[in-house]
Amino acid sequence: MSDIALSIPRARAAQSFSATRVLRLIQVTCIFIIALVIVSPLLLLVVASLKDDRFQILADMGSFRAFWVSIPTLSNYAEVGHLSGELAFGRYLINSLIILITTVCSGLIVNSMAGFVLAWGSLRGRAVILSIVIALYVIPQESIIMPLVIMVSRAGMADTFAVQIVPWVASPLYIFLFYQFFSQLPKELLEAAEIDGASFFRAYRSIFLPLSLPALATVSILMGIETWNQYLWPILVTQTDYARPIAVAIATFFGQDSIYWDRAMAASVLMMIPILGLYLAFQRWFVSSFIGSAVKG
């Protein structure tokens, strides 16, 4: 074989290799740009919280200066931390954490139990109940909020932690999510458990629940975000700082006459950290849940 004959495939291979590299470079650049666009609001929030002048924050909006701080300062965080009395953010942060943890933990138990019963339970009219659960999901929260306020105030629950937890523990969306997940698991698991003498509850607790980590992670994150960001409901049903969450406290920075962007940004960053932690803790299962949903037909 001549040298020329050998060099042609090599040249083609080199050409193809180079084309692959260029394509990959374009892909990486695109991904990087998209990631930057997605992360930019978060970056803007953090950068703004490190600026010491609230007017400067607004002046910088709309330009690249919004993403840059020449002399970063933690003074906004210090100010938020030093607020006391009705504005004690530490108190609000702890309140939010109590509400978050209790709601998510109770929500996981209640919704997964309901989902399991709907998927494998022997009660009559399961299909009808499931339809009702799905139908409940489309009712907007705004339409039931005032009747709910009347109910909880008559029940003497106003200005408590319970009033911010109990009404939101059971959710049609999360019941349906669990139902869907459990119903996709093989029925043989339940039958095997029954043959071994396990009760229905034991089968749920010892077999199905441990297998539902992706569903638990998904519900934890979605429910966590929803609970953490609750704003109107706590305003309506709480009176004092006793049980009020941080989302309400941040609203003090958005006054009638002026907006304290600097402190609002710092408080928002503080507010973001726990929910980011929750996401990072569960993201492996959360992502696998989405991948699983995509793969299953």
């Binding site: 007017f55 400067q56 607004l58 002046a59 909006m61 709309g62 607020l83 009395g85 009705e86 504005l87 005032m146 306020v149 009347i150 105030s153 106003a158 704003y231 109107l232 305003i235 309506l236 049903v237 009176q239 004092t240 309400v248 609203a251 003090t252 920075f253 958005f254 006054g255 009638q256 006459d257 002026s258 907006i259 304290y260 962007w261 402190r263």
Partner: protein, 430 residues
């Protein structure tokens, strides 16, 4: 064992005594809004009040500004109205008509009542029985702030008093000139950044319509159709739409301070009296305070602010009134409000506010109160009036047809009034 029992008894007695003492205290719940400065100031006043009145416990209920009405509605349906509530003056008629408030004249210190300015009395008075239902330390107004350098560069005439204001033609000519001036990104900031969840649009833009010769509602017939959608109102709103279309107005997305932001991108600002403190801190003496222009035959400016009332459900109206009186007289609170360029609603507070005195930098704002101030319609349908008008303005600023938007708003208002049988006795007054 005996010692343990004795100790338990002593502790139980002490706890019981403490609890009994706490139960003896009269609890006064105070619902309010405000930024961190005001929240802190109220807290300190309460501490001083409690020190002077050890048998009273002041409990604050904070409601964020943008969710204040929702919180109030929830308190009403839950039958948990506070003793004292801060309310936005134009909503007073609705609250009194609905039976939530009680007259405060017999309860508030007489020297404070005698100290009220005419506009303060007006904002707290229910037009049907002419009784006073609320009182405040302050009132409010909107002026036109100008960047001195920019105005000098275009050779603009600087009005010296309310009688000497810019006409519509002058104002629009200056806007056009400013739009072409180096350094000016937007000729005017109308504080669209406040959005449509606050009272700003009705409060600040309503007087532009009134100055142009119309109103949000006919204040005798209490009908909006043929008034809000009249040619004068449509023309005034079309004029404002033109400013927006021409790019003369700071967009909503740019926030609320482009007049005094770094680089001064806005040359003029149609801003509340509260803007002054921040603007002067940023711009020093490069700021002029002008009265609102005339957009028709007469001038018009807004008034009214957040004032204090006592609810009908209060178990201790006398103590509630004592707290309001204490708050309005508190020296440190007054000093704080003055530092925020608070607009005087009490004569004694005006005397403590050189900003608004004759020759003071905001004297023109105070002059407007007596010469051109037009209160927002004191009618129980006001919540509907303001919401319909705000939606119409928002629609027009986003390119909608002014006639259609105002007609739709007028219909909504009249429908609400009809649905409530004219809110008697309002309808019976004709």
């Amino acid at each position: 064992m005996g010692k343990r029992l004795l100790l338990s008894l002593v502790l139980s007695s002490a706890l019981a005594a403490t609890w009994a003492h706490a139960a003896d205290k009269a609890v006064i719940q105070v619902m309010h809004q405000g930024d961190p400065g005001f929240v802190a100031a109220y807290g300190k006043v309460a501490e001083r009040f409690e020190a002077a009145n050890p048998d009273v416990d002041i409990q604050f209920i904070y409601a964020p500004h943008d969710a204040y009405n929702e919180k109030f509605s929830a308190a009403v349906v839950a039958k948990q109205l506070p003793d004292v509530m801060e309310l936005d003056a134009p909503f007073l008629a609705n609250y009194v008509w609905s039976g939530y408030l009680q007259p405060i004249k017999p309860l508030i210190d007489k020297d404070l009542l005698d100290d009220m300015t005419a506009s303060n009395i007006a904002q707290g008075t229910y037009p049907i029985d002419k009784d006073l239902y609320a009182i405040g330390l302050t009132d409010s107004s909107v002026v036109l702030y100008g960047n001195k350098k920019y105005l000098e560069a275009i050779g603009a005439r600087i009005p010296k008093s309310v009688d000497d204001v810019w006409t519509r033609e002058e104002f629009e000519t200056y806007l056009e000139k400013l739009s072409k001036l180096d350094g000016v990104k937007w000729p005017i900031d109308t504080f669209r950044g406040y959005g449509i969840k606050t009272e700003w649009i009705t409060y600040a833009y309503g007087p532009i319509l009134q100055s142009a010769g119309c109103d949000l509602i006919d204040r005798k017939a209490w009908k909006s159709e043929s008034t809000l959608d009249s040619d004068a109102c449509v023309d005034a709103l079309a004029m404002m739409q033109k400013w927006v279309k021409n790019g003369w107005v700071v967009p909503q997305s740019a926030g609320t301070n482009q007049f005094f932001a770094e680089g001064n991108p806005a040359a003029l600002a149609l801003g509340g009296h509260w803007v002054y403190a921040e603007a002067v801190a940023a711009m020093k003496d490069n700021i002029v305070v002008l009265p609102l222009p005339k957009f028709g035959a007469k001038g018009a400016s807004p008034d009214g602010t957040w004032i204090w009332a006592i609810t009908k459900t209060s178990k201790h109206p006398d103590i509630a009134a004592k707290f309001i009186s204490f708050l309005l007289k508190d020296k440190e609170y007054r000093a704080y409000v003055a530092s925020q360029s608070g607009y005087p609603g009490l004569k004694s507070f005006a005397a403590e506010s050189p900003l608004y005195a004759n020759g003071g930098p905001m004297a023109i704002a105070f002059e407007q109160a007596s010469k051109t101030a037009v209160a927002r319609p004191p009618h129980p349908a006001y919540p509907t009036i303001t919401s319909a008008f705000m939606q119409a303005v928002d629609e027009v600023f986003n390119g909608g047809d002014p006639k259609e938007a105002l007609t739709s708003a007028a219909k909504k208002i009249d429908e609400d009034i009809a649905d409530n049988d004219g809110y008697p006795p309002f309808g019976d007054q004709q």
